[in-house]
Amino acid sequence: MRGVILMGGSARKELMSKASHGMPETTKAGPYVRSAARKRCTSDFWWGLLFILPAVSLVAIFKIFPLSRGLYDSLFHFAGGWRPEFIGFDNFKRMFGDPVAHKAFFNGVKVMATLPVWVFFPLVLAFLIFQRSPGWRFFQVLFFLPYTIAPIIVGQMFREILSVNGPVNALLKATGLSVLANPWLGSKTTALWAMVAVVLWSFNGLGVVVYLAGLATISEDIFDAASIDGVGFWGKITRIVLPMIWPVIGYWTVLCTGGMLLWMFPFIHALTEGGPGYASMLPEYLVYMTAFRFFERGYGTAIGVALFIFVLGFTFFQVRYMYIIGASEGKK
């Protein structure tokens, strides 16, 4: 066993396990147990298969298969449920010429332009909570509360709050700003932005707790040391806080960019249904409308596929990040 102790962590564990089964030690232990322990390995294989099978089949049936079916369906025209007709890329061509689809994707780009607010607003709030002024724990709990309320309920709530006679307009009128009073969700110019504000209200708390988790990893000693060195308030922010939570800001930015086009479905459903006209239509809702209201399965799926490609870049980074963390031990 002496040689075993000199080896690295995982190799040692492997050899120990073999030794415990009374098997001869091999000189080199790789990630997979070699012939000496084949018996153990095969039984492990069947058990492993049994454990993995439910997860893989669920994911395969309800995510991977529908995706490939969607890719396939997007090449067909479904006329009233009759035999689908193969039309190649015509659905996609139609999408490129469809003003409604243009509008939806352009609205998507407009929504993405609000990204700085999504990233920095919760950062400021988290930073204020991080100062641990009186009552900070309470604020932390309270700020996250909106996120736990179902989006559809949030939407219904705000439909009242943003209505013509709702509290927002009442407040504006009471403070002499009646010029600004507006049917927020009923006007073509404001509907999309009002909706984004509601979604931001809902997801802001998630951003705050993500940032707080990042801030909590900064050691107090660093601040103490900086104080001794005479670093001031702004110096601490720019030279300690920001560099240290930079990865968290990156993570949250990636999560938002991918998510802001996918989180909105229930909000649109409750607030505007894409209206007035198509002023607040987004691709994800257009998929639903096309497929389930206008019963154009092929075309709807094609828009969905376009949306998938649109957000793929952002979600890819998120998954890569999770994979690196989750597999960090196993992939040494």
Partner: protein, 286 residues
């Protein structure tokens, strides 16, 4: 969270500075974070007439009749039951399946286990909206539409990427020596799972269960696809229709919304630490 002594970490040494921050945060939370909920709850306590007279103030004579009304008009108990059974089923199935998969991927030496892990987590990249149509068709083909277990299966599948990730990340932190010790004592995989791994990983399982509970209870799109029939639909689908049925009766709608948000808010306040921990998993390496 680390030890927190309530001391100021960065500058702003004076008490005045701290209190200024408290005031800013209070104003923000009162006006922005809490008011919409507060407004809804207040309105739910008014009668139709008192709402018309007094939209924004406190109800002069608070009444619970809207709540009684909601329960009688909407077959609310049925909706609550539907939501409960699908959420509980989804949470249970997702947890068990993610637990088994995470164990196999992290603690068993299987060829290609990291590929399988990647395969499961990568399905997070597929937006629900992209596959809603083919998913509905698939569910139809499998006769899952209109069945509780149909929605439960779909919930479990959609919760798996994050679930497997969370539990696998937790398992990586459990030293293999513990498992080896159990194996030497003659435990098989099932015994290791139930008697060793499960007790150790209760925090991770609890976190996952709460996260799943929140999104499954709140989800709209999947029940809209799978359980749209009136008898078996969930609370959230019913709430999405509430306005088309009683468009002008704001207090009644408010009561429905208040009941709808109550279970999750209570769960959150009870388990807020686990929930926040789970939500931020992935953001911070710990």
């Amino acid at each position: 969270m680390r030890k927190l002594k309530g001391r100021t970490l960065i500058g702003l040494q004076h008490k005045l500075g701290k209190w200024t921050i408290t005031v800013i945060l209070s104003l923000y939370s009162a006006i922005v974070a809490a008011y919409p909920v507060f407004y809804t709850v207040l309105n739910s306590l008014k009668t139709r007439l008192s709402y018309a007279k007094n939209r924004f103030g406190f109800p002069t004579s608070p009444t619970l009749e809207n709540y009684a009304d909601v329960f009688s008009r909407f077959n609310f108990f049925r909706l609550l039951f539907n939501s409960f059974i699908t959420t509980l089923g989804g949470v249970a199935l997702c947890t068990v399946v993610a637990f088994l998969a995470a164990y196999a991927v992290t603690k068993m030496r299987i060829r290609g286990s990291s590929f399988i892990f990647l395969l499961i987590v990568a399905t997070l990249m597929i937006p629900n909206q992209t596959i809603m149509c083919p998913l509905y068709q698939t569910a139809l083909d499998m006769k899952l539409v209109g069945q509780y277990y149909g929605l439960i299966l779909v919930y479990a599948a959609f919760g798996l990427p994050l679930g497997t990730f969370l539990i696998a990340a937790y398992f990586r932190g459990i030293p293999d020596e513990i498992l080896e010790a159990a194996r030497i004592d003659g435990a098989n995989h099932i015994q290791i799972l139930t008697r060793v791994m499960f007790p150790i990983s209760i925090p991770a399982v609890a976190t996952l269960a709460i996260i799943n509970m929140v999104w499954m209870w709140n989800d709209l799109l999947l029940p809209l696809l799978i359980l749209s029939q009136e008898q078996r639909t969930t609370l959230m689908v019913a709430i999405s229709l509430i306005r088309t049925q009683y468009d002008v009766h704001v207090p009644l709608i408010s009561a429905g919304l208040a009941i709808g948000m109550l279970p999750v808010i209570v769960t959150y306040l009870l388990f807020q630490r686990q929930l926040v921990k789970g939500m931020t998993a992935g953001a911070v390496k710990s």
